[in-house]
């Protein structure tokens, strides 16, 4: 959201457990699985059809 660009990004101390979870081995496995299996299928295949002048 816009406020992420305008306000400091901070974390409440009570949410530290989520950081530990994010950097955990189980989350690493989850991210790596996503990168290996799902992500390749989502990557761009073709270049854009329009040229910049088409927009004006």
């Amino acid at each position: 959201m816009t406020k992420a660009f305008l306000e400091p990004l901070v974390l409440k101390p009570e949410n530290e457990k989520f950081i530990r979870e994010a950097f955990s081995k189980s989350n690493m496995d989850r991210v790596k699985k996503f990168d290996a299996i799902k992500r390749p299928k989502l990557k761009k295949i073709k270049d854009r059809k329009l040229s910049i002048t088409d927009l004006f």
């Binding site: 816009t2 660009f5 101390p13 059809k49």
Partner: protein
């Protein structure tokens, strides 16, 4: 919609390209105003009123998906480099975030501040392709510069949060009353 179909239907342009080729700021603004999203006015307002200035002042980079037929903006995302403040957080958690020091006050990160589609394309399942494109750009910067994690400031909506979770992000906040929820996707290379 498959990725192939998505690439056939939409063309992606960086806002900087449009600014550099447009004769006037008014014309660029008019193009941005082809995007509408009454369900998420923050998303709409950012593109209509802030994206141009942010791009010109190098605060962020916005990528726009144009419908190849109508030439209207169907969706967009905005990314930037940012800093995460660690005040009030334990040294142990700071070290996890920073990877080296446990008493640092700010940690650089990549930020996906906006990502969404126009209401006209509400039924199009294209978010995963847009997020993948954003991550490709961020990964390219990460390879050149390093960096510990990417942060998304997501709308606090269960459907949206599930979408990001299914796409490798994890919430680092839990507040039902908050307008937004921060989610991160760490880089793990050095942990292996």
């Amino acid at each position: 919609m498959t990725r192939k179909q998505f690439d056939e239907v939409f063309s992606c342009f960086q806002l900087s390209e449009i600014i550099s080729q447009t004769p006037s700021k008014r014309k660029a603004k008019k193009i941005l105003e082809t995007f509408s999203c009454s369900k998420n006015l923050d998303l709409q307002d950012f593109l209509h009123n802030k994206a141009l200035t942010f791009e010109q002042h190098l605060r962020s980079r916005t990528y726009l998906y144009f419908d190849n037929e109508t030439k209207e903006i169907a969706a967009y995302y905005t990314i930037a480099i940012s800093v995460f403040f660690t005040n009030g957080i334990s040294n142990e958690t700071i070290k996890l975030l920073d990877g080296y020091k446990d008493d640092i006050k700010t940690i650089p990160c990549f930020l996906i501040g906006q990502l969404g589609k126009s209401e006209k394309y509400e039924r199009f399942k294209i978010g995963e392709y847009m997020l993948t494109d954003a991550l490709e750009i961020i990964d390219s910067s990460h390879k050149s510069l390093g960096g510990r994690f990417t942060l998304i400031d997501s709308v606090n909506n269960s459907k949206v949060l599930s979408f990001y979770k299914d796409n490798s992000f994890l919430a680092i906040e839990d507040n039902e009353d908050s307008e937004s929820i921060k989610m991160i996707r760490p880089y793990f290379e050095e942990l292996e």
